[in-house]
């Protein structure tokens, strides 16, 4: 009689287990794994780009007016998130990061089920002082960046294509091709830098 498996069985009896022994031995996620979201409110400028691009609608914002401006609470709902990293990719100020932490377990309804979800931090935005800081009119012949971080246009380079106005999330820009007009609404602009990035002529300086 032939027992082809006996050798195998005996061999396996003495060989090492292939088990990772996970909870005993902590295991690290692979490089570039996209896990728990980390949100740095101190970097956020509230441009709302992340909410716009989020496929799952996982990001919500609560804005409460307080004395010194608006208190903005941005919440990432990890139970709705697909961990696509799009929000982090689009965030110009790198306020969002998907970490390698994969321990995301919600145990209870309410706060702890929100811990399968996840809440982070309120941001206190100073009242719009930049409104006052506009003595420097844009018509200066030598283009230099403004000190309040808002965009300036270089009329010699600009072709009035209107791309920046289309991409501006706050609808702060008006571009008129016929009139050769490039106008910035300072109150709406949040200095996100999107216009500078998209300008094909590099005509915007920030």
């Amino acid at each position: 009689m032939d027992f082809p498996f006996v050798r195998e069985a005996v061999k396996n009896l003495f060989s090492r287990s292939s088990c990772d022994m996970y909870p005993l031995k902590p295991s690290e996620a692979a490089e570039q794994y996209r896990g728990r979201i980390e949100y740095d409110p101190s970097k956020c400028i509230n441009c709302h780009f992340c909410e716009r691009v989020c496929a799952g609608g996982a990001i919500s914002v609560v804005e409460v007016p307080v004395e010194e401006g608006t208190q903005i609470t941005r919440t990432f709902d990890l139970s709705t998130c697909t961990f696509c990293n799009t929000c982090a990719d689009f965030c110009n100020t790198h306020a969002i990061k998907l970490t390698k932490d994969y321990h995301m377990i919600g145990l209870k309804e309410g706060d702890l089920l929100v811990s399968g979800t996840f809440v982070k931090v309120a941001k206190k935005k100073p009242a719009p002082p930049p409104a006052e800081a506009k003595p420097e009119e844009k018509a200066a012949p030598a283009i230099k960046p403004r000190d309040d971080g808002k965009p300036v246009q270089d009329p010699s380079k600009c072709v009035y294509c209107g791309i920046c106005a289309k991409k501006c999330l706050g609808e702060a820009l008006t571009v008129d091709r016929k009139e050769k007009l490039w106008k910035l609404d300072e109150d709406k602009c949040v200095s996100c830098g999107t216009c500078e990035e998209v300008c094909p002529k590099k005509a915007i300086i920030m």
């Binding site: 088990c19 998130c81 697909t82 994969y102 321990h103 145990l107 979800t117």
Partner: protein, 181 residues
């Protein structure tokens, strides 16, 4: 005495029943990975049961499509109490990117009490394992409460306030009109 032996042994071998309610297969594959030799969840006594009536822990993946919701609920109601319901992935918790679709009925917590929710899309096998280990802890508590209740003559066990009745499959709305974005 014999009963005690049974209770003690069952505590160490919580059997899983896996329901795929329209999942993309990502979560299912990770759950299978948990049972492979590499992660080896059988160390904790986890084992896939073939029938809901043999299971202690129900693992639900997928966004609860309209077709699968009544079946999911029926299967869940067949799992004997005390049971523990674990959702894996974002789908059963919220509908994930599919939410707002006319045929997606998530979240599961609208219909039954969910004990453990493992987030991720897909969760890593390690995360699922964490969730299942948590579920056994919860199961132990529930068992204790049940034994207590049985001693006090309550046949149907304790009804915790959080515990919802599983709605009968027919009572479940037939279309997605209830689902709001």
């Amino acid at each position: 005495m014999f009963k005690n032996l049974i209770t003690e042994s069952t505590a160490k071998s919580p059997w899983l029943f896996h329901i795929n309610s329209g999942s993309c297969n990502g979560c299912d594959i990770e759950l299978v990975a948990v049972l492979t030799p590499r992660y080896d969840a059988e160390r904790f006594g986890f084992k896939l049961a073939g029938s809901p009536r043999h299971a202690d822990i129900v693992v639900v993946s997928g966004p609860l499509t309209q077709q699968s919701l009544p079946r999911t609920l029926r299967a869940i109601s067949q799992v004997p109490e005390p049971r523990c319901i674990v959702t894996i992935g974002s789908c059963p918790q919220s509908g994930n990117v599919f939410k707002g679709s006319y045929s997606v009925m998530a979240p599961l917590s609208k219909y039954v009490h969910v004990d453990v929710a493992v987030a991720g899309c897909t969760p890593k096998p390690e995360a699922i394992m964490d969730g299942l280990v948590q579920a056994t802890e919860i199961l132990k508590e529930k068992r204790k409460a049940w034994l207590e209740a049985k001693k006090n003559g309550l046949k149907d066990g304790p009804k915790a306030e959080t515990e919802q009745e599983v709605p009968a499959a027919e009572d479940v709305p037939a279309s997605g009109e209830e689902v709001q974005q």
